[in-house]
């Protein structure tokens, strides 16, 4: 039958590929085991936690193993999956973030005191990690679509997981509808690309040849439509509208996870994608535009936010724009800066959310104006928050500064003469200054303002304190000795 693919070859390829996906398999296994455990084991909360932890650690171990043992990039599963060093690095980052998030889930009162239990969330969580892994390794548009959908669905579910309040339910609805529209747009773009090029494979020449044949206008259309879905996951402008709502009402630990891990995955994919869509300068201009607007909007809109998590949502938009700046450069130039920035951003971000969760657990305040005078009661947390905020702003001696500097210097070295990049840099700098304003609002309320009434002494969530301090310490440590982090992720 000549109209069938070469089964022999594809099967061999699949069998050969199996060995490379150790980390993914482990997660799938973990996912299934946890579902089963949840079904058949009573009082399985801590057991599931242990399992999930074990899964992540094992998966991480596989990744480390891969990182050490394999150097070459390979296409697996008949061109579905790309195995490369950079992908492993991104995945490692995801695992690290997930580990912190996992611990965090169990400290978040909104989740732990949830009557329906937390186990289902953990399984969704694992599935979303799987989605991220696959996204990072996506070698074609089908995989891209599937994995993005996987992450998205998982995110919708996690955000709406215990949406008992009106607001929470509302945010879930907005998130899911917004996401569905974005993915429909992306899907349409994918269909166009397939139509224009006859292939969905990102690697190889077919895509570029096909796209260049149909001309810049049409290819730009297709590419931009595809980028819409990616931008949605990055919450880059103009696909950011869901972000503040979802961040504001979702459980803090979930937000912490969603603000870091999916972004790492999407950036990881974007990194892989970068060389293949270079028809004209569409992708560069899109990224330029998205980066600039995200930085401006995110940082400026954050200024007057009172809800801490909402503010962090806008801050996340701003940071997305900042990282996106890097992607106007050729692939070869950006890996370290992207990884470094994402790692540092994640550390600081998770730290901040942990602190916020700690405050929420103890004082039930989520508004920044409610933080007045807390510095006296929980100085350690206050100091952590200050340092983390400073890191997010990018001021020495925190790691955020090094990260920011890497981005700047990469851009300058790439092409500082380009007026667009100069503009981008200027915007980045100005919004950095603006960002200081709202980041400092938290310490401002913490230390500079007097509390309205007497505040009880905090007693809960000592794990969160420990973790926040650890993350803060890391922030400073990597700020002073960034080589350490580089050694870790490299």
């Amino acid at each position: 039958m000549q109209d069938l693919p070469n089964i022999q070859q594809t099967t061999t390829d699949i069998i050969n590929s199996l060995a490379y996906l150790g980390s993914e398999w482990i997660i799938i296994v973990g996912f299934l085991v946890i579902i089963l455990t949840d079904l058949f084991v009573e009082k399985s909360k801590m057991f599931v936690a242990g399992l999930a932890m074990l899964t992540l650690l094992t998966s991480g171990a596989f990744l480390v193993h891969d990182l050490i043992n394999f150097q070459n990039s390979e296409l697996l599963f008949n061109g579905m999956f790309v195995f490369s060093k950079s992908a492993i690095q991104f995945k490692l980052l995801i695992v690290a973030v997930s580990l912190f998030s996992l611990v965090f889930f169990y400290q978040d009162h909104r989740l732990t005191k949830h009557p329906k239990g937390i186990n289902d969330l953990i399984s969704i969580f694992l599935a979303s990690i799987l989605g991220m892994f696959l996204l990072v390794s996506s070698a074609n548009l089908l995989m891209l679509f599937l994995s993005i959908e996987m992450i998205s669905l998982a995110s919708y579910l996690m955000v709406s997981y215990n949406a008992y309040q009106k607001k929470e339910a509302e945010a879930g609805m907005k998130y899911v509808l917004f996401g569905a529209v974005a993915s429909a747009i992306m899907l349409y773009g994918i269909s166009l690309i397939y139509g224009f090029t006859g292939t969905i494979n990102l690697y190889g020449d077919a895509l570029i040849i096909g796209l260049s044949q149909i001309g810049i206008g049409a290819s730009a259309l297709a590419i931009i439509l595809v980028l819409a879905g990616i931008s949605f996951k990055l919450s880059a402008v103009p696909f950011h509208f869901w972000t503040p709502d979802a961040y504001q009402v979702a459980p803090t630990s979930v937000v912490s996870f969603l603000s870091a891990a999916p972004k790492i995955a999407v950036f990881g994919f974007l990194y892989y994608l970068l060389p293949y869509f270079q028809i004209g300068d569409t992708i560069n201009q899109f990224i330029l535009f998205a980066a600039a607007t995200s930085m401006i909007l995110g940082n400026i809109a954050a200024v007057f936010q009172d809800d801490a998590k909402r503010m962090m949502a806008y801050s996340a938009i701003g940071h997305t724009g900042f990282v996106l700046m890097l992607f106007v450069m050729p692939q070869a130039l950006i890996l370290n800066a992207v990884l470094f920035y994402l790692a540092i951003y994640s550390i600081a971000n998770i730290g901040v959310f942990m602190s916020l969760s700690y405050i929420e657990n103890n004082y039930a305040v989520v508004n920044i104006s409610g933080f007045k005078g807390l510095g006296k009661n929980i100085p350690a947390m206050g100091v952590c928050l200050v340092i983390l905020m400073v890191s997010l702003t990018g001021i020495p001696p925190t790691a955020g500064f090094i990260a920011k500097f890497l981005v700047f210097s990469s851009l300058i070295s790439f092409n500082s003469a380009s007026i667009y990049i100069t503009f981008l840099l200027v915007i980045a700098v100005l919004t950095t200054v603006v960002s200081l304003f709202y980041y400092l609002k938290i310490p401002l309320n913490f230390f500079l303002k007097k509390s309205v009434g007497d505040l009880p002494i905090a007693r809960n969530s000592s794990v969160l304190v420990a973790l926040a301090i650890l993350l803060t310490f890391l922030t400073v440590l990597f700020g002073v000795f960034p080589s350490l982090l580089n050694a870790l992720i490299g």
């Binding site: 069938l4 599935a127 089908l142 599937l146 996987m150 669905l153 579910l157 139509g195 006859g198």
Partner: protein, 203 residues
């Protein structure tokens, strides 16, 4: 079962297609008209329940169009999953959520009064114009991949056994996505049930 009946109709039409291209085209355009017309009704109707039912028609019509693209299995799946699953789901949701709305049609806000309407028209038209402009600027028959496909005979014909091809492909080339989507479905299932589950009284 309206879905089954629609499937049969399509099959019958397939037989006719060989005999006359003209008939084929006529049917195609009739389907097109149905699809677009019903879709427009879905979109524009102010009566909720009718628009939902009209959506059935749209989906059927589109499934018919799939057949014209020689994707009979996809058409089938569309009918089975979309019409049989998704739409029924939608309908249930409708019935659950809009009990009051169903009683009094007039309560549904008029699309005309909606402030979103003008931007919506503009945006939709712009999109449509853009797409049309793009499609007419491309000479699809001379695209590299299509010409090479035609040259190497990599073009479907009506007689092809697409189902077999799909089966083999799914189990070989597209194995990983297939496995993945199973996980995805499972996750969606768990999550959906989890959320839909009635929370214990304790809360």
């Amino acid at each position: 079962m309206p879905g089954m009946r629609a499937g049969k109709t399509v099959r019958k039409r397939l037989k006719f297609r060989k005999e006359k291209d003209v008939v084929e085209q006529i049917i195609f355009y009739i389907l097109t008209a149905i699809a677009i017309g019903s879709a427009a009704y879905v979109v524009l109707s102010q009566q909720l329940i009718r628009s939902v039912f009209m959506f059935f028609v749209t989906l059927f019509a589109v499934a018919g169009l799939y057949v014209f693209a020689l994707a009979d299995f996809v058409a089938l799946t569309q009918i089975v999953i979309y019409v049989g699953g998704v739409l029924v789901l939608l309908l249930f949701a409708f019935l659950l959520s809009s009990k009051d709305a169903l009683d009094t049609i007039s309560e549904i806000p008029s699309g005309l009064l909606s402030a979103n309407r003008l931007p919506a028209v503009l945006i939709s038209l712009a999109f449509f114009g853009l797409l049309t402009y793009t499609f007419f600027n491309i000479d699809f028959q001379n695209l590299n991949w299509i010409t090479s496909a035609q040259a190497s005979g990599n073009v479907k014909s009506v007689t092809d056994d697409t189902i077999r091809n799909i089966g083999v492909n799914l189990m070989s080339r597209y194995l990983l996505p297939l496995e993945m989507i199973s996980i995805l479905l499972m996750m969606a299932l768990i999550g959906a049930t989890q959320i839909a589950r009635k929370e214990p009284k304790a809360l």
